[in-house]
Symmetry: none
Subunit: 190 residues, 4 copies
DNA sequence: AATGAATGAGGATTCATTCAT
DNA sequence: CATGAATGAATCCTCATTCAT
């Protein structure tokens, strides 16, 4: 019943990796820097992850999955508009609670080191988004057309908004409301 | 009637740099790969650009400026909606004509190697976008609220759309019309 | 009872550096040559010294300090002439025991890579020499005049002598006695 | 009967080479820097000297020969002491008139790029010095012993003095007289 | 499990030299 | 004769990975 030390080390490495990758880019982050940030020796990292690439993928998946859970976890309650609000504010909450993680996910989106499983995680989220759009189209609340395009537009808009925020422009309540309204108008029928 | 050699070499290097940076990331691109792609020796690159960083900035600026010219060059003719259409299709034309360049600009947006002048070029384009939004707000055609937020949403949406396209999903006429209509609905008043 | 490894590696690198710097000049010595001479990989050198410059300074200081200890370590016993003999033969012993080190010190005397601390080490030795001269001037055994000039003449003469030796001319007992006598006559009053 | 342009270019290159070699070291001096200092193109240097090494040797010989002429040119007039004075002040005049050249000669003394002819020039000067010493020994004015050793001591002392001067300590009339007297006492019999 | 010294391939950059103009 | 763009081998340094302790 001892504290699971190895698990704790693994967590420490993942946390340090997120911070260092976000700060220096995956390619620009040295394992030694990462190790000292995690408070372990370089060799120790290799006990938990077979390579830098594997570590990068582990970080990516860990957070991409969490982002997905933030968006589509609970049952659909109420109207499509209400559901959109929940999704949108879920993204907002995630980006606010884990700005490093969100920035990392965007920056590494096209990281050449991402493996099939990581890509799959990404695809699942996009599909969940598309499923929501299709549902809305069936009720007539969301405009017709390729759901993938609409998902791309909405997610892109959100990323643009988050980038603005990261760049220093504070996002107050008014701006957040403006954004949500505008994006919903992009999505909704009519 | 020969082409001025040094200038031609410089162009070849800039072209190769765009291709290789887009393919491998700025950080992941080796100067030697870049050189052989350009058909010159490594040393030759350094006769034209003092460092990899300078080369990266030159590529960034060259295309960011061109993107800007695609968007806001000609006089504003007609309604705000028409102007929006021109800007949107300008982005579309640019992304279609120079997909590498567009991808590079997005990926390197936050490249830590970008210098003050490169950042300034970016800022100027964003300001031109904001100016357009303000004009539309004054005529009542564009919804009220912080222009920077609206610009971020629109540009983000476009980037998302372009990423989808790059990922393999073809963008036919219908999808393009859908995107333009949806984004305009995000922007317009009411 | 094993020898502490890292320390041993450090020593091996310092020794190899002295040999290679002396043979090829600081500027002309490639780190790769130095590494193989030390029997380690290039990267290993950089675990012990942050840069070639730092290594050069470490070698310089290591030996300059030793030279200083050879000259001025023990208490002054007997006359000024006896003390001069001790200093002179101290230099001789040092140059004979560590010909590489002595040659290196001379050649790199004005190395532009020497940092403040290295220059300080040099200055301390010159000051010890000047202090000896002043003492001799106070007892009337050494000629009057700027001690710095006299130190420069004596040390210069010694360097010239050592260079002759290195050039191949053997220095037998007779020649050494001649040199010591001559240099003392340069120094002494009257 | 035109002005011999090529000769003038050659001179300009030799002058620039002296300056740049002294400032940056033979090894540290780039041909391109040298070229722009001389006001010619890099390629032009190679019309006059087959390689950097040849240029280095040309500079070395040009000045070493001049130094020799400063020392031993005119007929021996008067006593050995007077002749010593002439030689010593000849060195002084040379070092004062061409400090760059003197520094260069010392620094490059052991330059591995010096070829046989350059070494021969050096040897001739040392021999002239030895011949003077022998003459003095025959008249009983200079102490007995290996002339090479005495020449090394005297020349070494002079180099030490010049180094002191270059290091910033001004050499006024008093100091110069002190040095000459002291060095003569090193040389003279008794 | 953890450590951290050692490795060496690989990267950015320099520079003597060549040669077409 | 002069030019200077081009070359590519060589340099310093970094960093993912291994392995003896």
């Amino acid at each position: 019943m001892t504290i699971s030390e190895p698990q704790a080390t693994r967590e420490a490495v993942l946390d340090a990796a997120l911070a260092v990758f976000t700060e220096h880019t995956y390619g620009g982050a040295a394992m030694s820097v990462l190790a000292s940030r995690a408070g372990v020796a370089v060799g120790t990292i290799y006990r938990h992850f077979p390579s830098k690439e594997a570590l990068g993928n582990a970080v990516y998946r860990r957070w991409k999955v969490q982002l997905g859970e933030h968006l589509f976890d609970d049952a659909d309650a109420g109207s499509i508009r209400a559901e959109f609000g929940r999704i949108w504010r879920g993204m907002l909450r995630f980006a606010a609670a884990h700005p490093d993680a969100f920035a990392f996910l965007e920056l590494q989106q096209h990281g050449s080191y991402l493996d099939a499983e990581s890509v799959e995680v990404t695809r699942r989220i996009e599909q969940a988004g598309a499923a929501f759009v299709v549902r809305g189209q069936q009720t007539g609340e969301i405009r017709d057309g390729d759901p993938a395009v609409l998902v791309a537009l909405v997610y892109g808009a959100f990323v643009g908004l988050a980038a603005t925020d990261r760049a220093g422009a504070g996002l107050d309540e008014g701006r957040l409301q403006l954004a949500e309204d505008a994006v919903w108008d992009m999505l909704r029928a009519r």
